[in-house]
């Protein structure tokens, strides 16, 4: 018997950690990981509510979120590799122009 609030608080805390990571880390790979953490926090809230309301819709949404996250990571990492090839760095401060 865990109150739903506990799950939501945990989800909020994980989400906030992800936000802090996006704001202050310089390595785009870690920024990506923080985004994954935020998606996961949202998923946790979805599944918690789905369990409380005894409906499967929340779980199906989580399924879609996982699929979208996989697609996002594939494209995002390809972009990062490409940027590294042309600029020899992946520090986000150096990435201030769209051209080489």
């Amino acid at each position: 018997m865990v109150p739903i609030e506990y799950y939501i608080i945990l989800s909020v805390i994980l989400f906030s950690i992800g936000v802090a990571g996006v704001v202050f880390r310089r390595n785009p790979l870690v920024i990506f990981m923080s985004i994954e953490l935020m998606l996961n926090a949202a998923n946790l809230a979805f599944v918690a509510f789905s369990s409380v309301l005894k409906s499967f819709e929340g779980q199906i949404f989580v399924f879609f979120v996982i699929a979208v996250a996989a697609a996002e990571v594939a494209v995002g990492l390809a972009l990062i590799v490409e940027i590294f090839k042309s600029k020899r760095t992946i520090d986000v401060d150096q990435l201030n122009s769209m051209k080489e």
């Binding site: 506990y6 310089r26 790979l29 990981m33 789905s50 996250a69 590799v81």
Partner: protein, 174 residues
């Protein structure tokens, strides 16, 4: 204190600590590994909540596929050996402050505006059987059939995008 609450508290401690270590570790390889640990803790939460299908999908897709892709890219770029960039003086405290404000505001709103007495009870035994899987599949392939098909197109587009992005142009030096 019942057992479920104890399990929840221990697991949430694991999840929060691994997330913080992921955030603070200098070496992205360790960050990725701690994130895997975090994903597995969240998968156990899904089991506690009576969602075995999502728990398994979490482990195979997130902890398996996505994080392996991350590790490959980190090692491919040698990102663990890149020198540390200068950090703006105010950036770190500002980030902590903003994150704490966000968390405090959300929790405050949760307790003042959305006063509820919903409780996550231990899921019925029936939820952890084939029956619940069958229910999810029925929902997914009846009501959510169109989004499901669109997801497959999205994955196809992402795949083509990744291939096109990493393909060498003709005549480009190796």
């Amino acid at each position: 204190m019942n057992t479920e609450l104890i399990v929840f508290l221990v697991l949430s401690l694991v999840a929060i600590v691994t997330a913080i270590v992921m955030l603070l570790h200098r070496n992205p390889v360790y960050s990725a590994l701690f994130l895997v640990l975090n994903f597995i803790a969240v998968a156990v939460f899904y089991l506690l909540l009576g969602a075995p299908f999502i728990a398994m999908a979490q482990i195979t897709v997130y902890a398996g596929a996505i994080m392996v892709l991350f590790l490959f890219v980190i090692m491919l770029l040698g990102a663990e050996r890149l020198p540390d960039a200068k950090v703006l003086r105010l950036q770190r405290p500002l980030a902590y402050g903003l994150a704490i404000v966000l968390a405090a505001e959300t929790i405050y709103l949760l307790f003042t505006k959305a006063g509820s007495n919903l409780v996550v009870t231990t899921p019925d035994a029936s939820l952890n059987t084939m029956e619940s899987l069958r229910e999810i599949a029925m929902e997914l392939f009846n009501r959510f059939l169109l989004p499901f098909e669109v997801t497959s197109i999205l994955l196809l587009v992402a795949m083509i995008g990744a291939i096109v992005l990493s393909k060498r142009e003709k005549g480009e030096p190796k």
